[in-house]
């Protein structure tokens, strides 16, 4: 290669770092939008959602308003180990009260979906999914004393007593992202 005159261009490391950081930031918020929080960017951090959130009330770290802020400034790793999104009761007080139609509930659940991609999923959630696949019920009990006690047949008229319906449900689940992620065994 021919050497030209003058000083070779210096790579500005600060600029590169800034640019990479910007790209990373874009990625987190874009993922959250892609996973269902379409109106994420409308948030103006007014705090109406936090004022009414049961999680904020009892002291969870990353309640709705704060989670949105963290996503908007590109935090990700710090959030992956936090249980807050999995404690969300999906009550949707935040969605009802938000003056900008952000639907903070959707942000919470988009965060869950992002965490699932990174396999940051609680054991209890895995158990619920496994039970859904095996029995068609996330909450399932083998004991039927309660049903008998109140004079009902042992099996409810659900997938619990309908093998074809259970197979149908399994076919559906096998054709969703649950199967792609391989979170539970699906024979």
């Amino acid at each position: 290669m021919e050497i030209t005159e003058g000083v070779p261009p210096v790579i500005n490391l600060t600029e590169v770092a800034e640019r990479e950081k910007e790209e990373f930031e874009k990625k987190v918020s874009e993922l959250i939008i892609e996973f269902g929080a379409e109106n994420l960017l409308a948030c103006m951090q007014c705090g109406a959602c936090a004022s009414i959130c049961p999680l904020a009330r009892v002291g969870f770290e990353w309640y709705n308003k704060k989670l949105i802020k963290a996503i908007l400034i590109g935090m990700k790793e710090e959030l992956l180990d936090d249980p807050t999104p999995w404690a969300c009761v999906a009550c949707n007080r935040c969605t009802e009260i938000c003056p900008r139609q952000v639907a903070p509930f959707e942000v919470m659940f988009a965060m869950r979906r992002l965490m699932v991609e990174e396999f940051a999923i609680p054991t209890l959630a895995i158990e619920g999914l496994r039970s859904l696949y095996e029995h068609g019920h996330a909450v399932y009990m083998t004991g039927r004393e309660a049903r008998k006690k109140v004079g009902l047949p042992e099996k409810p008229p659900t997938t619990d007593s309908d093998e074809k319906a259970l197979q149908d449900l399994r076919t559906i689940l096998k054709n969703t992202k649950l199967a792609e992620l391989g979170l539970i065994p699906m024979e």
């Binding site: 859904l132 909450v139 109140v150």
Partner: protein
């Protein structure tokens, strides 16, 4: 010429969507519905083959299309028969209606869902929805018919109502809406129709702390339920808590006993789902329609049956 003065009432018929908790934990709620609705002229279809709605910690946490696909199979069971679903579980009410709302709003989701449903020979067009039993009782059956149907009334009894989160929010997705979703009236009206007092209290719309919060952090969950119970005791000294949600029912009934054992509260307030209370007032066997609880109910049931005979 025949003049038709009396228009024949359209027969009410719904698919009874049970959900997991009512099927296995609280089947007395199921039995209560199986008793009251036929007696009130509402036909029930079993929706054989229904599954979990799916609840929040499962498919809604994984993927929107997967969530909607499971919900759509359940909704399609009603749609095939030309009927809506009805449920006594707020979580089912929330998950099914949120999923339906997403499918109706976004044709791309709807078409992906139907591609999946095609694999089991089903389809969902968005017609069937899930109604809440409390709304069916309030709007379709009506307060007058409820008043006429009861054999025992709740005169002199004060109830604390607990509508529960998914009875109210997000109001956009629900087929029936309170005039003011932060000041709900329907459950209070339903209780008053049975003769009870159902006063406002300041934590009436507060969360009971059930669901994901309780499974993630029971200590924090108990903060909410304790505050709620103390508020009910101090402000209105209720004889009974009445809810329209199976999750609130389990939490308020179950956690109350734990709080008593830990010495954190020193009172006991029985808890019933509204359909159970109505079934008792209509004269059905309390053992069948309200036989499963942790916090004792015998006294209040006895009071209703002995004192409230009409």
């Amino acid at each position: 010429m025949i003049s038709e003065t009396v228009k024949e009432e359209k027969k009410l018929k719904f698919g009874l969507f049970l959900g997991c908790n009512i099927s296995f934990n609280r089947p007395d709620v199921e039995q209560a519905m199986r008793k009251i609705f036929p007696a009130l002229g509402v036909e029930i279809d079993d929706l054989v083959g229904q599954s979990c709605c799916p609840t929040w910690g499962t498919m809604p946490s994984i993927d929107i299309v997967g969530w909607c696909a499971v919900a759509a199979r359940n909704l399609a069971l009603g749609e095939e028969k030309g009927i809506d679903l009805m449920t006594a579980c707020n979580s089912c009410y929330g998950s099914l209606n949120e999923a339906r709302h997403k499918m109706l709003k976004n044709p791309e989701i709807m078409s992906k869902v139907n591609e999946i449903l095609a694999k089991i020979g089903k389809k969902y067009e968005g017609r069937a929805k899930c109604r809440h039993v409390a709304w069916v009782l309030y709007k379709d059956v009506g307060l007058e018919k409820i008043k006429e149907s009861i054999k025992y009334s709740l005169d002199g009894i004060t109830v604390a109502v607990q509508p529960g989160c998914h009875f109210l929010w997000p109001s956009e997705v629900y087929p029936d809406k309170e005039e003011d979703p932060f000041n709900p009236k329907v459950l209070r009206e339903l209780c008053k129709a049975l003769g009870a007092e159902a006063p406002y209290y300041t934590k009436l719309i507060d969360c009971c702390g059930m669901g994901a919060l309780r499974s993630t952090d029971p200590e924090k969950s108990f903060i909410l339920v304790r505050e709620k119970l103390e508020c009910i005791k101090e402000e209105i000294d209720a004889d009974l808590i009445v809810t329209t949600c199976s999750s609130c029912l389990i939490q308020l009934d179950d956690a109350q006993e734990k709080l008593r054992k830990e010495g954190k509260i020193n009172f006991s307030i029985p808890v019933l789902h509204y359909v159970q209370l109505l079934a008792i007032c209509m004269g059905f066997d309390p053992q069948q329609v309200a036989g499963i609880c942790v916090t004792p109910r015998d006294e209040i049931i006895k009071r209703v049956l002995e004192g409230g005979k009409r």
